[in-house]
Each structure stands twice: as structure tokens, then as C-alpha cells.
Amino acid sequence: MDGLNIPLNHILLVSSLLFSIGMLGLMIRRNIIFILMSLEVMLNAAALAFVAAGAHWGQPDGQIVFMLILTVAAAEVAVGLGLVLQVQKRFKTLDMDHANRMQG
């Protein structure tokens, strides 16, 4: 069976692109929500890489790790959103640049 088989490197390229996009987002966005979203993107980039690698080696491990990553991401975001509510309550803003009470 030869479905479309895309060389691993291409997918890795895509995923790394995704990863970089996420990272860029982290750096340029100030709103915490968007920051969390960029985090998702980065995690998914990793997940994608795992799936691709798994496929390339013909192992199930890739997909398993993918699921793990989904749960992890979910946990992170859950806590993250919880904190976001608090941020909104206490800082009256979601702009992370205003959360710099501590420095030096």
C-alpha cells in the first residue's frame, strides 16, 4: 500500500515552522489569552513532529505521545485559564506587560 508518503524532513520543516510561529506569537503578543494560544501552537508543533516521526519509524509510540501531549496541553491551559480569571480580577487587565511588579 503506498498512500501518499511525505518525506519526514518536510513534515519536520512544517512542524518547526509551526513551532517558530508559536514562539514568535509568545514574544509579540501581550494579551495573555493569545499567549496561551501560541503555547498551544508550540505544543502541537511538537505533537505533529512526534506523529510524523512515529509514522516514519512505523511505531505507535508517536501517536501515544501525541495523546499525552494533548492531555498535558489541556492541563496547562486549564490551570492557565484559571489564572487568567484571577489576573483579570486583580490586575484589571490581560496585558501581560502590566504584570511587572517584580523586577531588579
Partner: protein
């Protein structure tokens, strides 16, 4: 999966059980002190479990590697957690209600740490790290009032999530290169994979380093440290500084050793950069820091810089002396840091103003016990003989000299020389004479301080038994 494996997993199982019991207890009747007791019992049992499991040391599935080394660190972590528990008791008294969750979080975080320590596989590493981390976010943000904890938590969350992403991506690349997820496998196939596609595996392991380096707050991934240290409730800071960092470092060294990463020259070079950067940056940042928690944060950066020297030496030495050094250094560092945070939390508590070094003036004359504890801790961090910190440094330097890492040693000397200044500032402040403030700590905390002093001094003045023990691990 036979019975002995369950015995080997005793610590993890007991901890999980504790977590469940806590939840049930919370659902039945919310009572903070009961929860505290349950946690305490759980931790003590786990400690016992860690010792009990020694007879069943083995690798449980591919995921977990339960050996004496990991069990030793498990027990070390349990001790640290107990200290945290004791300190936490009246830290949140203003919060009063809904304190049980905190203990639950603590238990979960410790569970994560244990898993992390025993992990021999990327997946277990990931799970452990995330479990520990996610629980920590909540613990940091636990106080309901004030902005600092929240700020610290959110920063830590975002940054460490980013770090995990890096870590994961690095794993993905390594996996792609080697088709292996277990350390041993990577170690076995690494060299060959390197031959085929060096770019992948190098980039991968570099990203892993970055991800883990963040958790260890190695420069240049250190910037979160002071803010989180300052923002988090002091016991949590102590927990973060000891349990979290310790577990992560153990995981790193396992990954580095079993994964045979030390065989890659260029990776080593990268590590050298990180180490030197951390030693210098950490100490320079601490130089004129006024807030003692931030000061400790910076000093921890430097200390993990020193510790990296040992990892780097792996390239030149056999694992024996290296793992011994890691054991000793981490033990010494944990004890010392715990002592420091014990004093900080009993003296300064959550009040940022009181965390100022100037607030410690005259402590010698009003609260001699705490003052001496902090002094010993500072001297130990500075690496003055007769303290655990000195023997730790002794190990690092010996290893460094044995493998001729002169550049690193030079950085170490400079760093330590700078460090003396800010550690002494604290001591000097305490030795000033001011009028008493008339506060005093609970007996439990006093006892704790005493025990920790004793531990530091014993480790420093009569280390032979411990060294011998560490040699057997």
C-alpha cells in the same frame, strides 16, 4: 508486571494513595488540620516506602527505573517535602479557609517529582515534569490576595509551558533521529544516528537541554527565577528551589548518562557555555540584591552552574565519582536551601517588606537560633569549610581538576569570590545591633532549624559515612 514491581513502586503508590485519601477527606469534611496530618503521614510513609523499595530495585516497565540512586533522591525529596509541609502549616493562616487543596497540590507535585526522578523514558519524564509543574502553578498562585503570587504564577506557567514545548520538540527530533524514546535506547542508537543525521539529534538534544535548563534556571533561561521566588509563598519557594530543581537535575543527569549525551563534544561545549554563564550571571545578579528571596534565587542560579561542571566532566571521567558528586552536591544544596528558607519563612513570612535584608538586622541578638541557622546556611552556600556546601564544592573542584576543566574552574573561583560578598552582607546585617521586635517562631520550626543546622554541619565536618553511602548508590 509482577508483585515485586509493586513493591518497587511503593513510594509512588503511597503518594497516589495519599492524594486519593486527601480528596475523599475533603469531600467528606473539610478540615485543614486533618488534611495536614494525612499529608504528613503520607509523606512519612513514602519515606519509609523509599527505604523499603531498596530491596526490590529494578526497572519497572520501560518507563521507570527504580534503583538505589533514585530511591535515595526520593527519600531526600520526601524530607524536603516534609519541611515544606511544616513551614506551610501557619504560612497560610490568613487564608484560613480552603487550605486542603494546597496539601493535595503539594502531594501531587511531590508525586510528579518522584516520577521524574525515577523516569527512564521520555514519556515518564514528560508526565512527571508536567504533574509537578502544573501543581506548582496552583501552589504559587494559592494565596488569594496580592498580585505578586499571581504574577509569579502566570509567569512561571507561561515560561515553563514554553520550556516544555521546547523539551517536547527536542524529544520529537531525537525520536525522529533514533526511533527511540527510552534513555537507554537513545544511548544505544545515538552514535549511529549521529552518523546518519547529526543535525537532528544535536538540535533535539540542544532543545531538551534548553527545556530542562529552564527548570533548573540555568542562564540564560534564568530570568523567571527571582520573580517566581519572590512571588510564591515562601514555603512554596523553598519547595520549588529544592524538590522541583533537585528532581529535574536528577532527571537531567540520568538522561545525560543513560542517553550517553556526554559523547557529543559540541553538546558539551554548549553545556560549558551554560555553566559559565550561570556561575557569573547568578553571582553578579545577587551582588546587590536587597530582597533575600530574590538573593537566594540568584544564588541558586550560580549553584546549578557549579553543578553543571560535574555533568560536563562526564565526558572525561567514569560515572562513579560523577554520580557521587551529584548526590553529595544535591543533598548539601537541598539541606542548605531548606535551612535558609526555613529561617526566611519563620522570620520574614509573606511580608515583602520583611524580606528585605535590612529587616534581618539584629537578628543575632533577638533570635539567635534563627540567626545562626541562616548564618550556617549562608556560609554553606558560600562554601566555607565545616559546612556541607564546602564539601560539595570540594567535589565539584576535584572533578573539575581531574578532568582539567580550567576555564570552568576559573569561572567558579571568580563566581565564588563574588558570592562571598553578598552572603556576608546577610550575616553582617544580622550582626548589627538593633532593638528587639519580640517575635518568635513555633517550637516545631525551631526544632526544624536546629535539625537542619546539625545536618549541614555534620555533612560538612564528618562527611565520610555519607560519601561512602553515596559511593554505593
Amino acid at each position: 508486571m509482577n508483585a515485586t514491581m509493586f513493591s518497587a513502586l511503593a513510594p509512588i503508590l503511597i503518594l497516589s494513595l495519599t492524594a486519593i485519601v486527601l480528596m475523599i477527606q475533603a469531600s467528606i469534611k473539610r478540615d485543614e488540620s486533618v488534611a495536614w496530618i494525612i499529608t504528613a503521614v503520607g509523606f512519612v510513609l513514602t519515606l519509609w516506602g523509599a527505604i523499603y523499595a531498596r530491596d526490590y530495585a529494578q526497572s519497572v516497565t520501560i518507563l521507570l527505573q527504580v534503583d538505589h540512586w533514585s530511591l535515595f533522591f526520593t527519600s531526600l525529596i520526601m524530607i524536603a517535602s516534609l519541611v515544606t509541609l511544616v513551614l506551610s502549616r501557619d504560612t497560610f493562616s490568613p487564608e484560613g479557609e480552603r487550605k486542603e487543596e494546597y496539601y493535595l497540590l503539594l502531594v501531587l507535585s511531590v508525586l510528579g517529582a518522584v516520577v521524574l526522578i525515577q523516569s527512564s523514558h521520555m514519556v515518564s519524564l514528560l508526565l512527571g515534569m508536567e504533574l509537578m509543574g502544573v501543581a506548582l502553578y496552583a501552589m504559587i498562585a494559592f494565596p488569594e490576595r496580592g498580585q505578586l503570587p499571581l504574577e509569579g504564577a502566570i509567569k512561571y506557567l507561561v515560561l515553563s509551558a514554553c520550556a516544555s514545548a521546547m523539551l517536547l520538540y527536542g524529544f520529537a527530533l531525537i525520536y525522529a533521529a533514533t526511533s527511540e524514546l527510552s534513555y537507554a535506547g537513545i544511548g544505544a542508537k545515538g552514535a549511529q544516528a549521529y552518523g546518519e543525521n547529526p543535525m537532528l539529534i544535536m538540535a533535539g538534544s540542544a532543545m531538551v537541554l534548553a527545556g530542562i535548563g529552564f527548570k533548573l534556571s540555568v542562564a540564560p533561561f534564568h530570568m523567571w527565577t527571582p520573580d517566581v521566588y519572590e512571588g510564591a509563598p515562601t514555603p512554596v519557594t523553598g519547595f520549588l528551589a529544592t524538590v522541583s530543581k533537585g528532581a529535574v537535575f536528577v532527571a537531567l543527569s540520568r538522561f545525560y548518562i543513560d542517553g550517553a549525551l556526554y559523547q557529543y563534544n559540541s553538546l558539551n561545549t554548549a553545556l560549558v557555555f551554560l555553566a559559565i554563564a550561570s556561575m557569573l550571571v547568578g553571582n553578579w545578579l545577587a551582588l546587590r540584591q536587597e530582597n533575600i528571596k530574590r538573593l537566594l534565587a540568584y544564588s541558586s542560579i550560580a549553584h546549578f552552574g557549579y553543578l553543571l561542571v560535574v555533568l560536563i566532566a562526564l565526558t572525561y571521567l567514569d560515572t562513579g565519582l560523577v554520580s557521587q558528586s551529584i548526590t553529595f552536591y544535591l543533598a548539601a544544596y537541598m539541606v542548605t536551601t531548606l535551612a535558609a528558607f526555613t529561617v526566611v519563612s519563620t522570620v520574614a513570612g509573606e511580608d515583602t517588606a520583611k524580606q528585605d535584608i535590612s529587616a534581618f538586622e539584629g537578628l543575632f541578638w533577638h533570635r539567635p537560633l534563627e540567626a545562626s541557622a541562616l548564618t550556617v546556611a549562608m556560609l554553606s552556600l558560600a562554601g566555607i569549610p565545616l559546612t556541607a556546601g564546602f564539601m560539595a564544592k570540594f567535589f565539584v573542584i576535584t572533578v573539575g581538576i581531574q578532568s582539567g576543566l580550567w576555564g570552568l574552574l576559573a569561572a567558579l573561583v571568580i563566581g565564588s569570590a563574588v558570592a562571598i560578598y553578598y552572603y556576608l552582607r546577610v550575616i553582617f546585617a544580622m550582626s548589627k545591633s538593633t532593638e528587639s521586635t519580640g517575635e518568635s517562631a513555633s517550637h516545631l520550626e525551631k526544632l526544624l532549624a536546629l535539625v537542619l543546622i546539625a545536618a549541614i554541619l555534620v555533612l560538612g565536618s564528618w562527611p565520610q559515612p555519607f560519601i561512602a553511602y553515596a559511593g554505593l548508590l
